[in-house]
């Protein structure tokens, strides 16, 4: 028998979907800014493996010579990015949802088992509540990264007025590197996230829009006398 199982609260769905386009705009406008001084590369033992970014990439995304535009967009949408992030964190703390999200002591060991399971190396995954151990780590890390982007961003936005943040981030030059690295982190997160969402399937995806999942349960052995819609969904 089909049963509606409540999963994601409205506040979580709302902030998730507001964040998605805002973060996209922040990354895009960030690239318009980064282009003006695109000095980061991956170099090991004197050999450069990758330049951020190759010329074809800039051309394909129409990035060159748009620094002023990039700054204007970036310094408008930073407000929305921050506000949305604060709302999400406040909601998570006040509602108690953080208990489902913050990694537990066992999460780090379990996350490894989840990974092995996801890679079809191990047959069973550890028992979980709303989120498995790997999700707990990922969804908490992404919030910490968001805070990191805010702090490193302020450190390079107003390095004199927020000199203590700039100091905290290891100086202006290093803060800019961190700000960039965090953005690369979002892109990697996004790739894994999308793959996982596709693998998890429709029921899971729908729950981030409509809030519920459908589970199939055995009919109860007792004779039902009340109308079924008075029942609380089985948690």
């Amino acid at each position: 028998m089909k049963v509606i199982k409540e999963k994601h609260p409205l506040a979580m769905r709302w902030t998730h979907w507001v964040n998605f386009p805002i973060l996209t705009i922040m990354i895009w406008s960030g690239m318009l800014i980064y282009w003006a001084n695109d000095e980061y590369k991956i170099t090991l033992f004197g050999h450069t493996y990758f330049n951020f970014f190759p010329e074809w990439f800039y051309k394909a995304l129409h990035i060159p010579h748009r620094l002023a535009e990039g700054m204007a967009f970036h310094f408008l949408f930073m407000w929305f990015f921050t506000l949305n992030g604060i709302l999400y964190v406040l909601y998570t703390l006040i509602s108690g949802e953080w208990r489902e999200l913050v990694p537990q002591k066992k999460s780090f060991k379990e996350a490894w088992l989840v990974l092995l399971h996801d890679l079809h190396i191990r047959k069973t995954a550890p028992p979980q509540n709303k989120y498995n151990a790997a999700q707990r780590i990922a969804y908490t890390a992404i919030i910490v990264m968001g805070l990191g982007s805010l702090i490193t961003g302020l450190a390079i936005y107003k390095p004199v007025q927020f000199y203590y943040l700039t100091w905290l981030c290891g100086g202006y030059h290093f803060a800019r590197i961190l700000h960039f690295a965090l953005t690369i982190g979002y892109v990697l997160f996004f790739v894994v996230h999308i793959v996982q969402v596709i693998l998890a399937g429709w029921n899971n995806f729908r729950s981030v829009i409509s809030g519920f999942e459908i589970v199939h349960e055995e009919p109860k052995p007792v004779i039902e006398t009340t109308t079924p819609n008075d029942e609380k969904p089985v948690q």
Binding site: I4, A36, A72, F75, L76, Q161, Y163, Y172, G211, N229
Partner: protein, 278 residues
């Protein structure tokens, strides 16, 4: 006859919140499938409607017209408004107690980076050069380099920051702008809101808000690495203002003006933030 109150009161059924299971009418129970399709309809409908609205909003912003050219130009009109509003917010955290970090002398770059020569191309006749200070009254002070060098000298070794994103520790020496103001008794001029500076050929020009100009680390610099400024770094006198991006650090100052209106600014006319503060 029904009372007005009764008429205004909507029937009970209309007040039902489809998300609230308690309000479901017990008469016609919905099946689980009906509940699912109803909730899917509402949530996916809202998702599509709100998503389309957001996309429409983005298209509006992206295609919004360029601002009318005033002292600023080149940005989308709504984005310029946002930059100006943001300036008001960040001005609140500006303080003369917030100082740019300074470094020991040996950290200063020997090869000081040079980005642009707009307004300071070619050689300048230093002997013929004078700094023109135009007061609001119309009075003009003409000040020579030697007169400026006779004032107390201040050195600063700090991390110069370009709007492009690079930074470099460099060593500058000159007269503190606030010392210069005091010495020439220009205090009344600092009650105005802005300082404007232009190159002798008037091809490069900046506007600086008074609090930033009067910041204790703002210099009228005539030395780099303890030697007179070379032409490419703005000989004979340039602005070094650590609370601003490099674009505001005008090279080869020809004139200084004071105004309550924003003076014209080279990069603000090309879509950059007028304030450009750090």
């Amino acid at each position: 006859m029904k009372s007005l109150n009764q008429l205004l009161k909507p029937p009970r059924q209309m007040m039902k919140n489809p998300f609230n299971k308690k309000n479901r009418a017990p008469k016609k129970p919905l099946t689980v499938d009906q509940k699912i399709s109803r909730r899917n309809f509402i949530s996916f409908g809202s998702f599509v409607v709100l998503g389309s609205a957001a996309f429409g909003g983005w298209k509006w912003l992206y295609n919004s017209p360029e601002e009318a050219k005033t002292v600023t130009a080149g940005a989308r009109a709504p984005l310029r408004r946002a930059l100006n509003q943001t300036e008001l917010a960040v001005r609140r955290i500006f303080s003369n107690n917030n100082l740019v970090k300074t470094y020991p002398k040996d950290r200063a770059a020997k090869n000081v980076r040079h980005n642009s020569d707009i307004g300071s191309e070619g050689k300048v006749d230093i002997a013929a050069w004078v700094l023109q200070v135009k007061k609001q009254s119309g009075e003009v002070l003409k000040i020579s380099l030697d007169e400026l060098k006779a004032l107390p000298k201040t050195d600063i070794i700090y991390d110069f920051k370009c709007v492009e994103g690079w930074d470099q520790i460099s060593h500058w020496g000159g007269v503190k702008f606030s010392d210069f103001i005091n010495h020439y008794k220009l205090d009344d001029q600092t009650r105005l809101q802005y300082v404007g500076m232009e190159t002798p050929d008037q091809k490069y020009y900046v506007g600086i808000d008074m609090p930033s100009a009067m910041h204790p680390q703002t210099l009228l610099a005539y030395e780099v690495n303890e030697k007179p400024l070379p032409a490419k770094h703005g000989a004979p006198l340039r602005l070094i203002i650590p609370v601003k991006y490099g674009i505001k650090n005008l090279k080869r100052i020809g004139s200084i003006t004071f105004s309550d209106n924003r003076p014209r600014d080279y990069w603000a006319e090309l879509g950059y933030d007028y304030y450009s503060g750090l």
